[in-house]
């Protein structure tokens, strides 16, 4: 192999001297200088490792602590804040496993449980877009698999620099092809997600991958190594020099700092091996051969062994010589840090091992016993018969806790003072019409078919709704029609203006997207994308975002089941907008009652639900038409969101609705245009107040709903019952979007503006 990564530079003294840096050697050479700084540990953290061990760490131990204590694995900067997300008992009634597990697990009834999680793969996707995005899908799928579930669908929330920037032309097509390659080969439908553009993501795209899996209640698995004498089995792909140092160097340092020599090798995924691994694991679970299981992601064997050992009661002894290698020149530190894809680690009773290995053989999955569970509370590892790791596993798994300084950004006041009320507004119907067409044709709001048609949305035959619907809907049980709905949302502009409210708005929108399909929202996952935690302003954004999410979930009475924090998303000293991406899971008692977003029938009344206020801070109109960001974001109203969701769920269950669509980016005008285009018919609407505000304001807790012709009266009574303000604004039908007294746009013109943008940009 070529010597380019930190791992190799660090481990090396040993091989160069022809002897291994064993625990014994380390104890006898306390003063030997060690490259802790190059591995990303601070002097204080290195001292802490020495205190914990009572000696200097061996090269392998140093590698292990450096990856486990990296920001990526330890959440050291965010942990003090994330504690706020622990759900109160009132929120967690349906929760079977929560934060701290590989993924949260929620009871959805009829004996089914659903597990879902969203995770970032931002930096790898910038370095090598196709492989980075592909392995992002693979990693989150294994997280779901490790909970005992069959992965059933994926979604991706993507954010890039300006759509016409040259680097976006490199990154976006690669990311989309990587996601479609891995997900399609694996046979998982991609049922939704997001695509957004902003200059703040140039040089730092956000690639957040979500996976959802289904299991029966009794199938839940845990990442624990229990029972002295039980065997530790590594199975899946062989271990090679993939992404060595990735966890600590790639995910935690900025690109500028990463010199060419520091760049770790890119990981290349193999979705066909992952498919074998999925089926193999599910058969192992069904046969009752697995006591504990952990996927291998960032920090590979180091992370899997320490987390399994720390999760159990005893200890673990591992022989690193037993790890099957793709490259025989790897040493112990490199084996520990390797991020080779498509690997899992299981704990099995000795009597189960032959059956375990036989099932793996059947699926062509290489499996090797590499160690066993012990009762001594230590994680020990040997190499060529000598001990190279001997640590209390909890010290590596828990990691340090940083209380980093927090300060409100210096420009917060100036930003809030830039009131969008000062922007010139379109005067008259022709100007309003032109603004709407410009917004629909912008990359942000344009039709996303160019992306989503590369994904297989229907494989498996259980996809009920997918893009361009507000939320993806999957059937879980064919007999009863039980199903789930999923949506992700984030809005960097709102969060830049106010991370507390912006995060609540993202939560509100994902919640509303799930609700308008007719589903009852039940759980939340989140991926917090932010800049450097060493910047007090970023830490303030993080603290505010977490506080907003915690308060928001409490108000909605749903739990956060898990998630991921991605820090150091910045170019130079400029951080991205704080961008929490919130995923919401909902349950539909019967997917045959789901509500589509398109106007599916002629002659249906169109009802505007919720209150519209002149709220334009951070809006799509201000951003797209004026490049403006300032003022206050819209006011979240969680109580109103809850009532709206209750109304749509009740109306859907009663079969009253032929369409419902949430109002978000671009307001009512964009929502009506989208519902016309996806339903293939026009509408005539009269605005109940000042045209510009009604068309483009982005007030929260709003939707348009179309009751089935003849059932409008019943729907109205239901609106009153749920305390949701409702106004009849028009009727579906015709072949144009007709806003009375303002403008009329033929569907053909609307469609042309909406659909030509992405193909023109990306071919």
């Amino acid at each position: 192999m070529t010597g380019t990564s930190e791992g190799e530079e660090s481990a090396p003294e040993a091989s160069e001297m022809g002897c291994t840096d064993t625990v014994e050697v380390a104890a006898g050479t306390p003063d030997q200088p060690q490259p802790y700084a190059e591995l990303g540990l601070t002097a204080g953290e290195y001292r802490k490792v020495r205190e914990v061990l009572g000696r200097r760490p061996t090269a392998a131990e140093l590698a292990l602590y450096s990856v486990m204590w990296s920001e990526h694995c330890s959440y050291k900067s965010s942990r003090v804040h994330l504690r706020k997300l622990a759900p109160a008992p009132a929120q967690s009634g349906a929760l079977l496993a929560g934060i701290g597990s590989n993924a949260g697990v929620v009871d959805i009834g009829q004996g089914y449980a659903v597990t879902f999680k969203i995770e970032s793969h931002n930096h790898p996707s910038f370095v090598e877009p196709h492989q980075g995005a592909a392995t992002g899908v693979g990693g989150i799928v294994r997280d779901i698999l490790a909970m005992g579930a069959r992965p059933v669908a994926v979604m991706d929330a993507l954010r890039f620099g300006p759509a016409d920037a040259p680097d976006t032309g490199r990154v976006l097509p690669g990311v989309v092809s990587g996601i479609s390659f891995y997900g399609n080969c694996l046979g998982l439908p991609n049922i939704g997600g997001e695509l957004a553009f902003d200059p703040c993501y140039a040089g730092n795209p956000l690639v957040n991958a979500l996976c959802v899996g289904v299991m029966r209640h009794g199938d839940l698995k845990a990442a624990v190594a229990r029972g002295a004498g039980n065997k530790v089995i590594l199975f899946g792909s062989r271990t090679g020099p993939d992404g060595i140092g990735g966890a600590s160097v790639l995910a935690s340092a900025t690109f500028e700092e990463a010199s060419a020599a520091k760049r770790p090798s890119v990981q290349v995924g193999d979705p066909f091996m992952e498919k074998l691994l999925v089926e193999c694991c599910l058969e192992l679970y069904a046969a009752g051969l697995v006591e504990g299981i952990q996927d291998l992601g960032a920090a590979g064997v180091a992370c899997a062994t320490t987390e399994l050992a720390a999760g159990g009661s005893g200890g673990m002894r591992v022989s690193l010589d037993a790890v099957p290698l793709r490259d025989p020149s790897l040493g112990p530190a490199e084996i520990l840090m390797s991020e080779s894809q498509e690997r899992m680690m299981a704990v099995a009773a000795p009597a189960s091992v032959p059956a375990f290995l036989e099932i793996c053989g059947k699926w062509d999955v290489e499996a090797t016993v590499i160690g066993e569970v012990t009762g001594d509370g230590r994680l020990t590892m040997t190499w060529h018969g000598e001990t190279v790791v001997d640590i209390p596993p909890g010290t590596a798994a828990d990691g340090p806790v940083c209380r980093r300084p927090i300060a409100r950004p210096a420009d917060a006041g100036a930003l809030a003072a830039r009131d969008p009320a000062a922007l010139p507004r379109p005067a008259g119907g022709a100007a309003l019409r032109a603004d709407l067409l410009a917004m629909l044709g912008s990359a942000d709001l344009a039709d996303k078919t160019w992306v989503t048609e590369q994904y297989d949305r229907y494989v498996g035959g259980n996809t009920v709704l997918a893009m361009p619907e507000d939320g993806g809907v999957l059937r879980i049980d064919e007999q009863t029609g039980l199903g789930i709905a999923l949506a992700t949302d984030g809005n960097g502009r709102f969060c830049r203006l106010d991370p507390y409210q912006g995060t609540q708005l993202a939560l509100s929108e994902a919640y509303r997207n799930v609700a308008v399909t007719g589903a009852r929202p039940v759980a939340v996952t989140n991926c917090l994308n932010l800049g450097s935690p060493e910047d007090p302003a970023v830490m303030w954004q993080l603290a505010e975002a977490v506080r907003g999410l915690a308060d928001g979930c409490a108000a909605l009475s749903i739990p956060v089941t898990g998630g991921n924090v991605s820090l150091y998303n910045q170019t130079g000293t400029t951080a991205i907008h704080p961008t929490p991406v919130i995923g919401v899971l909902g349950v539909l008692a019967d997917v045959r009652r789901r509500v589509p977003s398109g106007f599916a029938a002629d002659g249906a009344d169109i009802m505007l639900l919720g209150r519209t206020r002149p709220e334009f801070g951070g809006s799509a109109w201000a951003h797209l038409l004026h490049g403006h960001l300032g003022g206050r974001p819209p006011e979240p109203d969680l109580d109103a969101e809850r009532r709206l969701a209750g109304l749509i769920a009740a109306a859907a269950a009663a079969g009253l609705l032929c369409a419902a669509h949430d109002l978000s980016d671009g307001g009512l005008a964009v929502a009506l245009a989208e519902s016309c285009l996806s339903g293939g018919r026009g509408c005539r609407a009269e605005l109940p107040g000042e045209a510009f505000t009604y068309l483009f304001a982005e007030s929260a807790a709003r939707a348009v709903a179309a009751p089935r012709p003849g059932l409008a009266g019943e729907f109205r009574s239901l609106c009153d019952e749920h305390g949701v303000p409702a106004e009849r604004i028009g009727v579906t039908g015709g072949d144009s979007l007709d806003i009375g007294g303002c403008f009329s746009i033929p569907l053909a013109e609307l469609s042309a503006a909406h659909t030509r943008t992405l193909p023109a940009l990306f071919g």
Binding site: M1, T2, G240, P241, D242, S265, V268, D270, R326, Q341
Partner: protein, 96 residues
Amino acid sequence: MARVIVDVMLKPEIHDPQGEAVLGACHRLGFGQVSGVRQGKRFEIEIDGPAGEASLAAIAGLAGELLANPVIEDFSVHAAELPGRRHSPGSLRACG
């Protein structure tokens, strides 16, 4: 006119699932002596004029930009020794 060859291979440390799949197929077909396969691609590029130093440098620039992904692949550039002779499956069979 001259012909320039560009060979593109994944860097040695990069995982090659395609090569592994070919290796598996070798064993299934009874070629047990095959112990490793790595798969790359070869470009045969026709240029006007001789394959001199300047042409080769220009082709190397092209390879870095278009033919190879330098993040995960290495490439080499050389002038073709002889007018390209093709090996078709038929000719291989004929060679025995």
